[in-house]
């Protein structure tokens, strides 16, 4: 019989349900087929006009009913769709989940479509004064709820019957990993037997794209969209803005085994460390990212030689990929040159608040399927970054443990360690 407690005496946390949506499709089957065949979901932007924009490509999710209804509605639908897949795979009743909800989602703002519509429904005065006057005459709560930071989680809590006050969080591009970490920690502290952790992001609006563009963060390789995201390549020039969602049902191993659930993987460890150097750049010595990786390994009770594969943050920005290489080579030493390290973002782009959860889902599938998805568009290796990035073609390999990295603006560094089997 498996151990039910980890090396620190805490309940072991198992994954019993996985759900995912990206620009490659809805659900694990479609996503996995595309990922392992090296297919990109990056495509020209059609949701809004691209006049005046330097970046005209993205990994938006354009095929859901809410895809054109604004960030809040799409984020909800992405979260709900992934969570439904995860909860039904776990064999749990979808309206009576019975554990807490942790949602990583983008900060919300009143969408421009609503701003325009409110403003132009009246002619008196101007600017904010007019908006406020029109606002207080509204008879419905629909627009209001898109501006409340807790509303998406509130709806999800109703939909899935989660327990208690749901937590909505943001740690920028590490948010999805933080949502999983919060679930793992709640189970380890004995606050619950199971938790629903979701990362969802449907906020690829024109304004979001322009904001990242003004920070020179986005790729402008518009001509062949599927070639734009090229992590660890010499000619990488920024990330590709994308949408998606990932959801995990987390359970104490004890609870999962007791109800006869299928164990899809184990959440072995989580580590984090904040960076105090700069709002968008990492400390030049990489020490915070290094500390986050080491903290995750220590939390997992694993040594540096016990990680089989790294699911990289790998955004395809000049800065991230250089710093991620520096951090990993510091932690793993010479072994780094022969460890497989791939970036799902080469195919799905950067799903921002969802990325950590989406990539945890793919990491778990990598172990279960014994197939490592490739880093595509690796045609022009960066000589300063010597890594085995599983270039361009999937690789069959036994993978027992994965490290998944997530780094974000505001000095956010969160790492997850997952394992195929309980100890």
């Amino acid at each position: 019989m498996a151990n039910l407690r980890d090396h620190m005496g805490r309940p072991i946390v198992a994954v019993t349900g996985i759900g995912v949506v990206t620009s490659l499709g809805v659900g694990k089957a479609d996503n996995w087929a595309a990922l392992t065949s090296g297919r990109s979901g990056i495509h020209p932007i059609t949701r809004f006009p691209v006049d005046h924009l330097n970046t005209r490509i993205s990994g938006m999710v354009d095929f859901l009913p809410s895809s054109s209804k604004g960030a809040s509605h799409l984020t909800y639908e992405l979260a709900e769709t992934a969570a439904q897949e995860a909860v039904s795979e776990a064999g749990l009743e979808s309206g009576d989940f019975g554990g807490p909800l942790f949602l990583a989602s983008p900060p919300v703002e009143l969408d421009w479509i609503d701003r325009f519509s409110l403003y132009n429904s009246d002619k008196q005065d101007a600017g904010a004064e007019r908006l406020l006057r029109v606002a207080r005459g509204l008879k419905e709560l629909d627009v209001f709820e898109t501006t409340q930071f807790g509303s998406i989680a509130d709806r999800l809590a109703d939909r899935f019957g989660t327990r208690g006050l749901p937590i909505t969080l943001s740690t920028a591009c590490a948010s999805g990993a933080t949502a999983i970490q919060l679930g793992v920690e709640a189970i380890r502290r004995g606050e619950c037997d199971k938790a629903l952790s979701i990362g969802a992001d449907g906020s690829a609006t024109a304004e979001a794209l322009i904001r990242f563009s003004l920070l020179s963060a986005l790729s402008t390789h518009n001509d062949i969209p599927e070639k734009a995201s090229k992590p660890f390549s010499k000619d990488r020039d920024g990330f590709v803005l994308a949408e998606g969602s990932g959801a995990l049902v987390l359970e104490s191993l004890e609870g999962a085994l007791a109800r006869g659930a299928t164990i899809l993987g184990i959440m072995r460890g989580c580590g984090e460390k904040a960076d105090d150097f700069h709002r968008t750049r990492s400390k030049p010595d990489g020490s915070p990212a290094i500390a986050a990786v080491r903290a995750a390994l220590a939390d997992a009770g694993l040594g540096e030689d016990e990680i089989d594969y790294v699911n990289a943050h790998g955004t395809s920005t000049p800065e991230n990929d250089k710093m991620e290489h520096l951090s990993l080579s510091t932690v793993f030493g010479e072994r780094i040159g022969s460890m497989p390290i791939s970036s799902n973002k080469s195919m799905i782009g950067h799903t921002l608040s969802a990325a950590g959860a989406v990539e945890a889902a793919f990491s778990l599938m990598t172990m279960r399927e014994s197939v490592i998805p490739p880093t595509i568009n690796y045609d022009n290796p960066d000589p300063a970054i010597v890594l085995d990035v599983v270039p361009n073609k999937k690789r069959n390999a036994e993978v027992g443990t994965v490290l998944s990295n997530s780094f974000g603006f505001g000095g956010q560094n969160t790492c997850l360690v997952m394992a195929r089997e309980p100890v």
Partner: protein, 395 residues
């Protein structure tokens, strides 16, 4: 008493009443204190404005100040006050091992750019193209960072060097409740020894008012205390700029470094009533039960917003428990959204520490409370959703 108890060793406060626990104590214990109001600038709405603040006192570098708008400055400043108060500021070792949970909304948009786009939209049908045209040329690149929710925590890391971990919870008052609850749970389980937790709200920006007014939540017309806004024009909420940060610490950790302890943080409980199904009253009553209230008179610091339905529900449930002597501080500070619960806990801890209650903030409704409180209850019933309570006790 246990070594893993959660104690409060630092308090940072800013509101229209001033800054710091001492200034707040002096003002709030003055019977009949008049609120600081600005009824003109955002008429027909009244707000409680920020006091004069010398940002340099907590954010030494001008370059850092320039990277933020007022909301992030206010939060970073208030966090600095709490760190100072706990004797942690400037202690590299303690800051590097300190965890942080910030309750945040979003930062300020560029009102002038927005207004120009809206004005142009009246004469253009290609509004999406108009957006691209204006936003690509008129947005200040770094403004995005001043708007991002998690960049308040990011700035606290940069300015004050708090880098153990950094998490940002979103979701109005509920985010503040969850932040305190999670921080306390980390300390009790031994995951953290000391945690910075809190939030800030800057209401002096039309978008921040719009966030309430899209559902008609703001009170209009002459100012009234929180409990007396039912039936008045508007929705009952009067907002205020301010912030509250707490240093929560494992008792043993605080003792070992010889720090003053304001109070112990006992049970923190939270919930999500399905309000449309009429569950709010029963949910608040259930939370009171879970909080394991002590016998006898209990000073209760309420973060009631004034929002008609939520405030009426809270009042009904608290009134049904005659042991509770309630003080709704938003009468004097205005509603500070994510900061409401940390602010309530801070006022509760100050009362325990000083061994005295506050006089009624609204003498027509709030009953007197005599004696030295051994425990104080803090409540935060969200103006729209989410609820929480916490019990603060003598150390």
């Amino acid at each position: 008493m246990s070594s893993h108890d959660v104690v409060i060793t630092g308090i940072g406060l800013v509101s229209s009443l001033g800054e710091g626990p001492d200034a707040h104590w002096q003002k709030l214990t003055r019977p009949g204190l008049e609120p600081v109001l600005d009824a003109a600038r955002f008429a027909p709405y009244t707000i409680h404005p920020l006091p004069e603040i010398d940002w340099n006192l907590q954010i030494a570098k001008r370059g850092d100040q320039r990277q933020m708008e007022t909301w992030q400055r206010l939060g970073t400043y208030t966090a600095g006050l709490a760190l100072d108060d706990a004797g942690i500021k400037g202690n590299d070792e303690l800051c590097a091992t300190m965890d942080m949970v910030v309750a945040a909304g979003g930062g300020e948009r560029d009102e002038a750019v927005d207004a120009a786009i809206l004005a142009a939209s009246e004469s253009r049908n290609d509004r999406d193209v108009l957006l691209n045209e204006k936003l690509t040329t008129e947005l200040r690149p770094t403004l995005f960072l001043a708007q991002l929710s998690n960049l308040l925590a990011g700035n606290i890391s940069i300015v004050h060097k708090v880098t153990g971990s950094s998490r940002t919870f979103m979701g109005e008052e509920g985010a503040g409740v969850s932040a305190v609850e999670t921080a306390a749970a980390r300390i009790r389980s031994g995951q953290s020894t000391h945690v910075l937790v809190g939030g800030a709200f800057q209401t002096e920006h039309s978008d921040m008012l719009l966030g309430y007014e899209l559902a008609g939540y703001l009170h209009r017309g002459p100012w009234k205390p929180v409990w007396q806004r039912q039936g008045s024009e508007g929705g009952g909420v009067v907002t205020g700029s301010g912030g509250a940060f707490l240093v929560l610490e494992q008792r043993e950790h605080a003792k070992n470094r010889g720090r003053k302890i304001y109070a112990e943080l006992g049970h923190v409980v939270s919930g999500r009533a399905r309000r449309r199904q009429g569950e709010l009253n029963s949910e608040i009553a259930a939370l009171l039960k879970q909080a394991a209230l002590p016998d006898g008179d209990l000073l209760t610091i309420s973060a009631a917003s004034g929002a008609h339905a939520a405030t009426a529900a809270e009042k009904a449930v608290l009134d049904a428990n005659p042991a509770l002597a309630v003080r709704a501080f938003s009468t004097l500070t205005g509603h500070m959204k994510e900061a409401q619960f940390p602010f309530a806990v801070a006022l509760a801890a100050m009362a325990v520490d000083r061994g005295a209650g506050y006089p009624a903030f609204d003498a027509t409704v709030e009953r007197s409370f005599e004696g030295a409180p051994n425990s104080v209850l803090a409540t935060a019933i969200g103006y729209h959703q989410f609820e929480g309570l916490g019990l603060v006790k003598a150390p």
